[in-house]
């Protein structure tokens, strides 16, 4: 009578003798034992990869040539828009000359920091259409930059000059600093956030609300009336702050999505962080 092995002894036998270490890569079940694919399967995989790459490139191109200009132009639209305090009527403020100068400095800074590469955007190797399309994207970026300064700079008076000086100081210093693109973005984000908070929270808080008469306003809000008069603060509706908040967000989003070079999107799938 044969002896029935116990489960424990069976496991021990398997573990000690029959199991061996398998050292190798996992293969698809369709792959041959020697690791090669059949020709048709290889072709299928390649086609699938190519389709995937093609789809990704198309998406990137759509983002770059369609959505980026739209984002930047939306910033250009919102940047000069204010709402009147009395009746919420639209006020379209054209940018001051200093905004154009700052936008130019900012673009120079983008190129210096490597956030944008000139030869990656304009090249004689590119077709005319591509150069023009790239130019349109950068033009939209310039308009957006101009309007973002229009948005963040106070409209007039002493605050305008103080803010303008601070922006100039920051931009001028940054021009001579060795920047990384990512650091520049962080720096810009913090500067814009500070300017936004100062203008649309601090100065807006100091601005007296619109009242029927000057005397009444002085009696009801003497401090705010005094600051409004002393600092020559314009009276805007609270909706203005909301609009400008989205303008700043859209601008930073656009910068985040902006590739340093248009060629980069064709040859690799590097993420934005890798590229900068």
């Amino acid at each position: 009578m044969s002896q029935v092995p116990s489960p424990k002894s069976q496991f021990q036998e398997l573990s000690d003798e029959n199991l061996c270490i398998v050292d190798g890569e996992l293969l698809y079940d369709s792959e041959l034992a020697d690791g090669t694919l059949t020709q048709s399967e290889n072709q299928k995989l390649k086609t699938k990869d190519q389709k995937h790459d093609g789809q990704r490139t198309t998406d990137n191109k759509q983002l770059q040539y369609i959505f980026l200009p739209l984002i930047f132009l939306t910033v250009a639209l919102l940047g000069g828009l204010r709402l009147n305090a009395e009746d919420n009527a639209f006020l379209f403020l054209k940018p001051a000359l200093v905004c154009l100068i700052y936008a130019t400095l900012l673009l120079v800074l983008f190129f210096r920091a490597g956030l944008l590469k000139l030869d990656g955007w304009f090249s004689e190797k590119f077709s005319t259409l591509k150069n023009v399309a790239n130019g349109v994207v950068l033009l939209a970026l310039f308009f957006a930059s101009t309007q973002i300064f229009n948005s963040l700079l106070p409209e007039r008076g002493l605050p305008f000059w103080v803010f303008a000086f601070c922006f100039f100081w920051t931009l001028w210093n940054n021009l001579f600093v060795e920047f990384q693109g990512k650091r520049l973005l962080q720096s810009l984000g913090s500067v814009f956030a500070l300017a936004f908070v100062s203008k649309y929270l601090l100065l807006a808080y100091l601005t007296a609300p619109a009242s029927a008469s000057w005397w009444r306003g002085l009696l009801e809000n003497p401090t705010q009336e005094a600051f409004t008069w002393l600092l020559d603060l314009p009276r805007f509706s609270t909706g203005t702050g909301y609009i400008q908040f989205f303008a700043v967000i859209f601008y930073l989003l656009g910068l985040f999505l902006l590739p340093p070079s248009t060629e980069q999107w064709n040859v690799s799938e590097r993420s934005f962080e890798d590229s900068i």
Binding site: T57, T58, K61, Q62, Q64, Y65, I66, P69, L70, L73, A76, L77, G80, A89, F90, L91, F92, K94, S127, L129, K130, V132, A133, V136, V137, A140, F143
Partner: protein, 175 residues
């Protein structure tokens, strides 16, 4: 979608959007409700400018006739408004002459003329002369047929002379 198609579409969309934004900043609508009326005004202006550029500009006959009717009824403010609407580009000498003439007739007084209206009339007449110095009106109702005669009337009316104190002056007739 091919790359060049995306690029072309991007350029077109960006151009249209940029023009729209520039237009908004130009016309400065006060609210969203005002945007269609501003658009209509812009289209009318562009149409008129295009007509001027290609040489097919014509005044609005209906408005001109309205203005002429008001002019004959001595309703000069209404007449001027209609004439100005009829000739938006201020290129029709005949219409501009009527505008100048309306200043004369409105400002004329038997005792004294309205200097403010006469000054405006003089400026308007100078514009008519600059546009066409040989213009001659064919309207039988107008005694002053040319802009030069009208200009002389304005200049004489604005001067203070001894004849202004002549009591018989009240008998003079409006031309």
């Amino acid at each position: 979608m091919k790359e060049k198609h995306i690029q072309t579409l991007g350029i077109a969309l960006a151009a249209v959007y940029a023009i729209f934004i520039a237009w908004l900043y130009w016309v400065e609508p006060k609210s969203l409700e005002e945007v269609p009326s501003k658009a209509q005004t812009t289209i009318e202006n562009v149409t008129t400018k295009t007509q001027v550029a290609i040489g097919t500009y014509e005044i609005d006959r209906a408005k001109f006739n309205e203005g002429l009717a008001a002019f004959r009824q001595d309703s000069f403010i209404v007449a001027r408004d209609s004439f100005q609407k009829a000739d938006v580009e201020k290129r029709d000498t005949r219409t501009q002459f009527y505008i100048a003439y309306s200043f004369y007739r409105q400002g004329f007084g038997r005792v004294s003329n309205d200097d403010a209206l006469f000054k405006q009339g003089l400026e308007q007449t100078n514009r008519v002369i600059a546009a066409d110095k040989n213009f001659k009106s064919d309207d039988a109702d107008l005694q002053l047929k040319t802009p030069v005669e009208l200009k002389n009337e304005f200049e004489e009316g604005l001067k203070v002379t001894a004849s202004d104190f002549n009591p018989l002056k009240v008998l003079r007739e409006r031309k």
